[in-house]
Amino acid sequence: MKKYFEVSTKTIVATGLGAAIFMLLFMYVKVPSPVPNTSFQTAYGVAAFFATIYGPIAGGLIGFIGHALNDAIQYGSPWWSWVIASGVAGFIFGFAYKNTKVEEGEFKSKDIIKFNIIQIIGNAIAWLLVAPGLDILIYKEPTDLVFAQGLVAAISNAISAGVIGTFFLIAYASTRTKKGSIKKN
């Protein structure tokens, strides 16, 4: 358990810069989806990637800080229930940390499945449980509405975290030196 919650200087810096990228993508880089007026948030792909490389603390804070600052800049004030849900999603993504062989330069089928299961669990808990729950508790939104919104968010964020996160991790793995790649002649 301890390996997940170590906070080094690198974790802090990765959190800061990760949140900056998260914010940037959240604002500008949306992939338009086939359903009109909706889009895939590429930001969650990046959150999943950073969480896998730097752990759950970094992942959770990236989601929370990035989403809160983004809301503050775009809308004037953060929408706390969804900001917290973003943090929860990032935190859960972080359990892929050191569970895959990405640091050893390998990200193959088994690791891809592992990463995606964790990512889907994270999105489901965040958008089907935390976000609607807090919406009802804090903002007293209508129940049907918040669950419908949550479902859309869960599906689209799971797709963008799955597609983009997986691609990033494959790309990242190919830059790492493989274990045992040096042979004695």
Binding site: I12, T15, G16, L17, V46, I73, Y75, G76, P78, I164
Partner: protein, 277 residues
């Protein structure tokens, strides 16, 4: 893309003179007051108060135009969706039914629904000036120290200040990469196929991420060399001492917060104000 992140400018108004800590506490207290209460009278009072403070801080409309448009669109969509999903929410909350017009099927317009939706819209409107005031009058470097002083762990506060410090750099880099790729014929609009859109977004983000990871490496080494994180607490270069005005401002925000809770508990006996009984 060209809109600046924080058009923080140094002016000499009573709001600018307050310390960042005061503004953060005030912002949190007032937004929680609005978040908690569903009493239209309380919310209206806080809205008027926050617009007054906005004027006091001499913030111009041109500085916040984009934000206002975003919020207006957001509120409009939220209102329509709320009505489509539960046209009876007001009736459910207030327990009475004053029907005005029947449109079709279950879609009727009731006084209760109007009150519920107007209150909700006003709730969004009232917090916007608060956020704007906080963002535009607080020195970004002071923000981290304020966070630390309200009890956030200094490492997390430092992460926030790193985010604010590096956002413009990353934005600039993103624009460079994006323009370079577009010059090579990359299509980012929805004319491209869905799979291609994902691929094209990746082509821009991947170089951005790898250059950022190099940057993470060098920044964290630099911070380690300077002994970051050695002690349990730290001091901040950019923190102001609290003056008399700060205590007055905190007191005012705290009183408003208490008032909102007080009205809910003792006068309305719930979070909603019910004029229908």
């Amino acid at each position: 893309m060209s809109n600046k992140l924080f058009s923080y400018n140094i002016l000499d108004t009573p709001i600018h003179r307050l310390s960042g800590l005061t503004k953060l506490i005030g912002f949190l207290l007032l937004t929680f007051a609005v978040m908690f209460s569903y009493d239209i009278r309380v919310i209206l009072a806080i809205t008027l108060f926050s617009f007054y403070v906005l004027k006091m801080a001499q913030i111009k409309y041109s500085q916040i135009r984009i934000m206002v448009i975003y919020v207006a669109v957001f509120i409009l969509i939220n209102m329509v969706l709320t009505y489509l999903f539960s046209p009876e929410e007001g009736v459910k909350i207030y327990g009475t039914r004053h029907e005005l017009v029947r449109i079709f099927g279950r879609y009727t317009i009731t006084l209760e629904q109007i009150l519920y939706q107007v209150t909700k819209a006003l709730k969004y409107v009232s917090v916007i000036p608060l956020g704007i005031i906080f963002l535009l009058t607080t020195n970004p470097s002071e923000f981290a120290s304020s966070l630390n002083r309200v009890g956030v762990n200094y490492k997390a506060a430092y992460a926030v200040s790193l985010t604010l410090r590096y956002f413009p750099d990353i934005q600039r880099e993103y624009i460079d990469i994006s323009l370079a790729q577009q010059a090579r014929g990359l299509d980012l609009s929805h004319k491209a196929k869905l799979v291609d859109r994902f691929k094209n977004a990746l082509v821009i983000i991947i170089p951005l991420i790898f250059s950022t990871m190099d940057r993470i490496e060098s920044i964290s080494n630099a911070m380690d060399l300077r002994g970051f994180g050695k002690y349990k607490t730290r001091t901040w270069y950019n923190s102001k001492k609290l003056a008399k005005e700060d205590f007055i401002a905190i007191l005012i925000s705290f009183l408003i917060f208490l008032l909102s809770i007080f009205v809910s508990i003792f006068i309305n006996k719930s979070r909603f104000y019910n004029p229908f009984i």
